[in-house]
Symmetry: C2
Subunit: 740 residues, 2 copies
């Protein structure tokens, strides 16, 4: 990790040169000034008061009750697991209540709980349920234990001065120090890991260091066990995010990582301001936050690339924290307040009270803008990326995410050049996300289910090309992590014609893939249509499958198909195919259209199928004995060839209004797609539709120069001339005829 | 129809004795006074202004454009169909705009459209697409044509005085009179029908009579073609609603019927106030409205018994009209304003402006209360009924609808003793509703699909008993219409113990069914549990199937099952079974539990299964070549016996919170169900569960007397004594043990 040595040494120098000041308590997120500010404003800031009342009523309701601190037995979702989670949350909230109200009952409450942990914790061995995970002692995985420490150390910090010296000794000796040691000494792999689990661990250890005034813990947290900067918080800041702030595991895990990143950063800022942690790497934490937020859709959902649960939104606690800190530390961006309003909660922090005050004072706030945006991946920004094209307003935003990034660590999926499509505030063409029921005991204790690996991670589970029914890199993560897809071209300045394009020649041996997605807004359509051109080239013949997992109800096809209505078979044997029921299959002689209904709008995929194309309709759920998968549907185009260019037009159209009882334009406008040329140099596609629509779409396949001029002669003698890597000519068919 | 002769003759007398006054125009819904009131208030009543601005911007945008009046060609959803619908809506809105603004441009606009109809209409033959429906001329079914007339005659009425005499003659001679005649002379069956189609027809003809001052049309509309009162509006008021206002086709169709009922009633009130139409049958229109509204759930959806589309809510135009009229004519019930606020629109009527004013003036309005309620069915109220049990607040209302009504005309389903269950603002155990995509051209032009009859109407599509894989009454409507289920008992006064119970001995020859549903609220549970006791008795052995169509994701079972994971077969051959895929099957030795997840709550069905019970898991969608059905899931209990008592406990439990990342109580609390006695006289059920739960549930099966005392000795010597038809003893298991 030579490349970060300069940065590392400069930090080490700073950290060594500053003698740790005698701590004041609390000294992490809350401190004297923040508490005073909260006390001054309490009762006058509705959103803050509401948040405060929420934790107060929770804790007050339990003050008199005995709080169980059970011997750890259960995995995620089980009683002891959930109980220990509730306990740290209760202690954390009680700590905050004590800080603000100075009412001793909250301190007594925390003492009662901590006393039990101080008896139990030293005797604990590894958790009995920890099989294939990094084990904890209180919890089946150490990850939960770091979250426990991160919360509990804050509660302890809040009540620090109220505890007797002997209590403090007891807690530090029996709980905090051994737990920290358990992390850095007994879980060195996890502790040194450049991964969100590593971040949770170092944050909890570092924050413990600040509270216990242990420079050694702080240094370990910042620069890992060997204090060499090969791991630890600073290395994580440098390596887990791309220069754009894109988190290599994707938005869903960025969300989760932001929590320890920001809590530890804020603790560092309050204790070691000389580190200027918020400025590190050109404000990488600010960028990380905004990139995570931009990875959400207007319904709050993190677009679920890689392992992601769709239930997770920007309403989650970690985004509340992060937003509050960002608002406070990075110039009070008022557009964040529109998200904070939806969150309807703030954190107990300087940022939290500021956000709540701003919302109270401002009569109107600017809306957060979901924009067309591109993120590079990789610490140096040279490992592909993710781009998002957007069109329309918040209440009906068309969004397309295109993934051409690096693998994304252990939660990455084999989904090179896949995309996700949203409209009407909902998924239209989905990414399955992950097969997991968070914390649900019946579903493997909330762990990732076997179908996560056997289906959700596989290439066939995504809206991208599968070669010979195998996943990218044969489904081998260590192989996939060596490569990434490559940016080819992006243009999103003109909202009527947004383009993203990328290539990959590593996912399949000897196969070159080049996908270009356009969002084309045209007066002839109610909303932009998506033009999807997927060129694949190989010297050998392969079976190419291109699936689209549409959401909504099948309406019609422009062709006859053979439905399997009395017996249903499985599509394949492995690599995810074993989880697909074959519902119907079809052959067509030319351009084909498939239409479905989702919400109050129709959607069609018009495809350049021909007599060599097989069309397969599938339902997810075969070979799923525990009913772990959602039974969603897909359409798949299958071609056996050396070189092939799939062209698909995704068209939102018409209006289905059951309330006002009308329906119109339930058929697509596109009628014919012809690939007139597709080779190493150029792809030229002619598109015809209703009302004499005739578009010609051109891509230069091996020259992404924005200023290059291209001239191509078609077989009919027509000459096409354009500038830059892609272009689209729109003309009425009749004019075209005339020109001929 | 002798029973209504008195009512009929008294109306005939009144109508004959009053000479029709020289009409003022408009004279239907709007009149001089209402228009003056609107004009006076315009600009001061936001909700009304918004509604007004809505139609103004719609019409203004099209004023200069040519409006197409195409020769009718298409079925529902097709261009000409939708165009003629848009045309009547435009004319209606333009008529209103003219009335209020007196701006001639709106009159000119309507004239331009009517002129085209006046040319086209006389030459029209029957619509080319009308196959299996009552044909129209403008539309594929006459129903749409009556809606056209009902709107257009109002537009004409609004602009009446502006038209030249020769225009009026032209429209009346070429359009209105022949269209009315087409209805009463060429469609006598429909016109005389006691059915919502009949109501639309008579309302449009009667309103035409008021505008054209044709007593003959009015009398025909009120008392049908022969003016004998055997059909027509008055007969419809008497026969389509039960004394409670329950509409025999169910809430969804009540909604649709309310439109012509209220528009014609308001027109009658304005023209023939001496008929006191709003007072008829003890204010049957008021009752009809409230019963329809009570048949909705808090999400606005009409609980979809019989043929119903779930997309339809109380936001639809007909409910806006009806609510406005009811508010005005029946004492300004302020709780209706909470619904009007959600509708966010009013009608152009006296009620509409009143509602909008009230919403402006009142700072807070009482909430409309969805209550536990029972409706009798049948004109005399002696044909069974529908009961709804409810518990909780609007934002999380538990609702159970139990159907033991008459068949419900042509849209009725074969679903005796079925139920629907809602919670969390959504469906938990669903009724499929109807198989139809309203106005979607690809789906049979928006008509009912074949699967509506082959699946949705069949008994197996419902949460009720199927005997020998046949539907109630062998699926013969004419047979089903002769019978109804019977009320046994209802008690909803105690919100902690609500009970509904009914019997049926006609749906299956020689089979007696008795179902009792309890909503039991107990401190041991977060919300009420539903106890479902279904006793079936026959002298011969039968196969009894009891399905539950749960919504949500399968989590776990308390037993092993055999899943069909590589090949899927169809459950049966006919009567709806041909549409069910068999996903898994199981045998258990005793009480069994099945748990699923829906939203943020867990649900379980704990069942008194034994070694004779087969458990089948199904998915809807087999034998569905056009993908017309939704692929929802069900669990089914199958027993072959003469007499059997199914006991199922539906238990909402726990909390699944992905935002705050916790989960608890994902397993049901009930553990054992034993039917210790079930015969003609009594059913006694013992229920055991966690935390020493021990309940005993007793039903007297042949004595519904509320005051009767029952004493039953159990085989272990215990004596149970209770009063009334049902009772539940709750005790801790340990106490029970002690008692023994």
């Amino acid at each position: 990790m030579k490349k970060y040595s300069f940065l590392f040494f400069s930090f080490l120098f700073l950290s060594a040169s500053v003698v740790l000041a005698q701590s004041q308590h609390p000294n992490l997120i809350l401190n004297k000034q923040v508490i005073a500010e909260i006390q001054k404003n309490l009762g006058n800031v509705p959103l803050f008061d509401k948040t405060f009342a929420g934790i107060k009523s929770q804790v007050d309701g339990l003050l008199k009750q005995s709080i169980d601190v059970p011997v750890p037995v259960d995995p995620g979702g089980g009683y002891t697991h959930e109980r220990h989670k509730q306990n740290y949350e209760l202690m954390y909230n009680a700590g905050i209540l004590y800080s603000i109200t100075k009412d001793e009952k909250y301190a007594v409450f925390v003492k009662r709980i901590l006393d039990k942990y101080a008896v139990m914790y030293p005797a604990l061995k590894l958790h009995p349920q920890s099989k294939d995970q990094t084990p904890g002692r209180l919890f089946w995985q150490s990850l939960n234990e770091t979250v426990w420490l991160l919360h509990t150390i804050q509660a302890y910090d809040c009540i620090y001065y109220w505890f007797s010296k002997s209590d403090r000794d007891k807690y530090e000796t029996n709980i905090f120090l051994p737990m920290a040691k358990f992390f850095y000494e007994d879980s060195p792999h996890e502790f040194n890991l450049i991964h969100n689990h590593g971040t949770w661990m170092v944050a909890s250890v570092g924050m413990t260091g600040f509270v216990l005034n242990k420079q050694d813990l702080i240094d370990k947290a910042l620069y890992v066990t060997e204090k060499d900067g090969e791991g630890g918080f600073i290395a994580q800041l440098n390596q887990l995010f791309s220069p754009d702030g894109y988190y290599t595991e994707g938005g869903y895990y960025a969300r989760y990582a932001l929590w320890p990143f920001f809590l530890f950063a804020e603790s560092i800022q309050n204790n070691k301001p000389e580190l200027k942690i918020y400025e590190v790497r050109d404000q990488i934490l600010r960028k990380a936050f905004y990139s995570a937020l931009q990875m959400t859709y207007t319904n709050g959902e993190f677009m679920p690339i890689n392992d992601a649960l769709k239930e997770k939104t920007f309403l989650s606690a970690e985004l509340i924290y992060a937003l509050n800190f960002v608002y406070d530390r990075y110039g009070e961006d008022k557009s964040l307040l529109s998200i904070a309003r939806l969150q309807n909660k703030v954190s107990f922090s300087k940022g939290g009270i500021k956000v709540a005050q701003a919302i109270t004072e401002l009569t109107s706030v600017p809306k957060f803008k979901w924009e067309s945006i591109n993120f590079v991946d990789g610490p140096k920004g040279d490992e592909g990326g993710v781009s998002i094209l957007r069109w329309g307003s918040d209440n009906d935003l068309e969004s397309l995410l295109f993934k051409y990034s690096a693998h994304g660590l252990s939660h990455g999926h084999f989904d090179k050049l896949s995309f996700l499509f949203y409209d009407q505030g909902r998924e239209i063409i989905q990414d399955y996300g992950s097969a997991r029921f968070l914390n649900v005991e019946q579903k493997l204790g909330g762990r990732y289910l076997p179908e996560n690996k056997s289906f959700a991670m596989q290439t066939i589970a995504h809206n991208t090309l599968v070669v010979d029914e195998k996943s990218n890199f044969n489904g081998k993560r260590e192989q996939s992590e060596k490569f990434h897809s490559d940016y080819y071209f992006l243009s999103a300045d003109n909202s009527d014609l947004q383009i993203t394009s990328a290539t990959d020649s590593n996912a399949y041996d000897g196969v070159k893939m080049h996908r270009t997605l356009l969002m084309v807004n045209d007066p002839g359509f109610i909303r932009p249509v998506v033009l999807d051109v997927f060129q694949v080239n190989s010297e050998k013949s392969h079976q190419y499958d291109l699936p689209f997992y549409y959401m909504g109800h099948f309406l019609s096809t422009s062709y006859a198909y053979n439905p399997f209505i009395t017996e249903r078979k499985v599509l394949g044997k492995k690599n995810g195919y074993q989880h697909l029921w074959l519902e119907a299959e079809a052959k067509t002689s030319g351009t084909s259209a498939f239409t479905w209904l989702n919400g109050e709008r129709y959607y069609s995929i018009t495809a350049n199928t021909d007599s060599n194309t097989q069309i397969l309709f599938t339902q997810i759920g075969a070979n799923d004995p525990n009913f772990n998968l959602r039974n969603d549907h897909g359409i798949m185009f299958r071609v056996t060839a050396k070189n092939h260019t799939f062209v698909n037009i995704i068209e939102p159209h018409g209006d289905f209004n059951p309330t006002l009882e009308y329906s119109f334009n339930s058929y697509p406008a596109f009628e014919k797609i012809e690939v007139v040329r597709s080779d190493e140099q150029y792809t030229i596609v002619e598109i015809f539709g209703k009302n004499d629509l005739h578009w010609t779409f051109m891509i230069a396949n091996n020259n992404a120069d924005k200023y290059a001029t291209h001239t191509v002669a078609l077989s009919d003698g027509t000459k096409l001339t354009w500038h830059g890597p892609t272009s689209i000519n729109k003309k009425k068919e009749k004019e075209h005829e005339k020109r001929k």
